[in-house]
């Protein structure tokens, strides 16, 4: 009972146990799931979601939500792809600058609307989700950027590896996660995000510039979505105006909430989010092996979001109970 309680309260441990149990269960049915090769498949599924999840985590901690990241990913990837297409001789790492810059600008636009016009993030980003997707069609003239236009150096980032046969983009995404960890644990602004999310009324009274912090989380979320955009081009080798990034926001939100980031703001951890992403990756990798058709993926993401919400609620009530020694006030 005590162990169970620790697991419930230390969310990271709980998710880790869930990952292990899930992998063992799948391994019993299909032994080939417990192999290095399937680890490779899982790891290749997650880098984009991991990067998007870091940004979404910050936004959720600050008590907002960003639905537009899928479209930001699409638009950044499209602009970068068009740069490669029309200026083939350009130095290819400039693509990173363009993708991240585009993402930052689009994220800042969300942030300005939320901060200075005092609009709810959910409606703003529902609007920009469609606005940015529409812009992607307009700038690309609804044409796909095909494989031959994406520089082979960029594509090889998803195939060649510095060590252990693990491709570059996985190291990059883990690096982003490490940076985010340092940022939220050890920088003043990082702590301010948590303070603002825990109590948006008290934080400004303690001298925290709420507008600046809000703008920052949206800009970071956009920047990371932009980075995910160029990595999409690297991973898949093409950019399509309608598919690229479509539904990305739901995968990311599912991963983040299962990683224990509270939807009421103010709490969440990088480790939990990383584990949440991994769990989602394991599920996604196990489905085809178990013969479950890919059409069930979206339903599973939805179910995962709802289950994570329920777990989040019961954890919060456990916490209140252990603090007050009483039941939850109705």
């Amino acid at each position: 009972m005590n162990l169970l309680r620790t697991l419930l309260i230390r969310r990271e441990a709980g998710i880790f146990v869930m990952i292990v149990l899930f992998c063992l269960a799948v391994g019993v049915v299909k032994p080939q799931f417990l192999s290095l090769n399937s680890l490779r498949i899982i790891l290749l599924l997650v880098p984009l979601i991991l990067i998007g999840a870091m940004g979404q985590m910050l936004v959720l901690v600050a008590r907002h939500v960003d639905l537009s990241i899928g479209s930001i990913l699409g638009l950044s990837a499209m602009l970068t792809g068009m740069m490669f297409k029309f200026y083939p001789e350009i130095w290819w790492p400039l693509g990173f600058a363009l993708a991240i810059g585009t993402g930052t600008a689009l994220g800042l636009f969300n942030g300005v609307l939320v901060t200075y016009f005092r609009l709810p993030a959910i409606i703003v980003t529902l609007g920009t989700l469609n606005l940015y997707r529409g812009l992607t069609y307009i700038v690309s003239d609804a044409k796909q950027i095909d494989r031959q236009f994406v520089p082979s150096a960029l594509k090889s980032m998803s195939q060649t590896s510095p060590m252990f046969g693990i491709p570059w983009i996985i190291f990059m995404s883990l690096g982003i996660a490490a940076l985010t960890y340092v940022f939220v644990r050890h920088s003043q602004v990082g702590r301010q995000i948590f303070a603002l999310g825990s109590n948006p009324v008290a934080a400004p009274l303690r001298g925290i510039n709420a507008a600046r912090v809000t703008l920052l989380v949206f800009a970071l979320s956009g920047a990371l979505a932009g980075l995910a955009g160029i990595m999409y081009a690297s991973r898949w080798g093409f950019v399509n105006p309608s598919n690229t990034g479509n539904g990305f926001e739901f995968q990311v939100i599912a991963a983040v909430v299962i990683g224990g980031v509270s939807i009421n703001g103010g709490s969440g951890s990088v480790l939990g989010t990383v584990l949440g992403v991994l769990l989602l990756g394991c599920v996604a990798a196990a489905l085809p092996l178990l013969g479950i058709p890919g059409t069930t993926q979206s339903a599973i993401y939805g179910a995962v979001i709802l289950i994570a919400l329920l777990i989040d609620r019961s954890v919060r009530q456990q916490g209140i109970k252990s603090l007050t020694g009483r039941g939850v006030p109705a």
Partner: protein, 322 residues
């Protein structure tokens, strides 16, 4: 501004500052703009016919308006439409008699509304995230049921939008009737006033003896029922059902409510506003189609409209709140 000065403000000025006035003016403006693009535009039959394409969303938007006034939001109705329609189509294609299949579709919608309501009201979870989750879940389940195929519906079921009653397509008439009914409920009944009160201050409403939970639950269930009816009507209009039926419809529904001056933080808004906004949206998007704008450009315009309309509504309310 003192209370006395507020009291002498003339009625026309109060009317002028209402967001519905803005919607109405925009509607007139859009009519002029669109008729300048094409002389055929002022043909009333053409506008009515175009409206049948959005009538299903517009019906759900009416109920959504009440949900938003009550201080909650539901982003799942478009997915609900798809899942109810898929269940209905799957049931009738596997040999279940039509009336029962229709019943299955409608019941599914009610159950989906109940699930949203249970999570939001009984479990006290924020409706925003809950309905993002069910938005994904319901659409995903529709995909599980229908796969990537489209399911045909019987010939006699097809084309409810082509029924002409009193010179008006049936679905448009249904939308008008629903607007009238819900407008009366919201504007003249105790139930309607209670919805406004809950949206303005839920705690105060509870202390005033209003059964907030029951009212909110009934609105979520109504939302589910309206969505499933809309799903079946769409199935009838399209003649076949795929899992992506009504994809992205939540944008249009929220947009109709917002353009009609419903206050996103709850407590304000009218059915009349949403009614006008639905027409505005149809005129605007038909106008864009007549002007040969790509659907992608229209998507952009809808996104911008949504943001502009909430900024404008917030501005109007902040001016009149004194």
């Amino acid at each position: 501004m003192s209370a006395r000065e507020t009291a002498v403000r003339p009625a026309w000025k109060i009317a002028l500052y209402r967001p519905e006035t803005m919607t109405f003016m925009l509607l007139v403006l859009a009519m002029f703009g669109a008729s300048a693009l094409s002389p055929y535009f002022l043909d009333i039959a053409y506008i009515l016919d175009s409206f049948t394409l959005s009538a299903e969303f517009a019906m759900v938007a009416l109920v959504l308006t009440m949900v938003i006034i009550c201080g909650e939001i539901d982003l799942s109705p478009a997915s609900n439409m798809a899942l109810s329609a898929c269940l209905f189509a799957w049931a009738q294609s596997s040999g279940i008699p039509m009336p029962i299949a229709i019943g299955i579709g409608l019941c599914a919608g009610v159950v989906m509304g109940l699930i949203n309501g249970l999570m939001v009201i009984t479990l006290q979870l924020p409706s925003i995230i809950v309905t993002i989750g069910t938005l994904t879940l319901y659409r995903g389940l529709a995909q599980v049921i229908a796969g990537d195929k489209s399911i045909r519906v019987p010939d006699w079921f097809i084309g409810i939008n082509n029924w002409i009653v009193l010179g008006t397509p049936f679905t448009v008439l249904l939308f008008a009737a629903l607007s009238l009914a819900l407008g009366l409920v919201l504007g003249t009944t105790v139930f309607g006033r209670q919805i406004y009160l809950i949206g303005t201050n839920e705690i105060a409403a509870t202390h005033a003896g209003i059964r907030t939970k029951r009212i909110k639950m009934s609105l979520f269930v109504a939302m589910g029922l309206a969505s499933s009816i809309a799903g079946l009507l769409t199935a009838s209009r399209l003649g076949s059902v795929r899992y992506d039926l009504g994809l992205g419809g939540e944008l249009q529904m929220v947009l109709m409510a917002m353009l009609g001056g419903t206050y996103i933080f709850g407590g304000r808004g009218t059915i009349l506003g949403t009614f006008l906004a639905a027409w505005l949206l149809v005129v605007a998007s038909t106008g864009m189609t007549v002007a040969n704008l790509l659907p992608a450009v229209q998507l952009t315009v809808l996104g911008i409209l949504l943001i502009v309309s909430i900024i404008a509504t917030n501005f109007i309310y902040s001016r009149t709140q004194r």
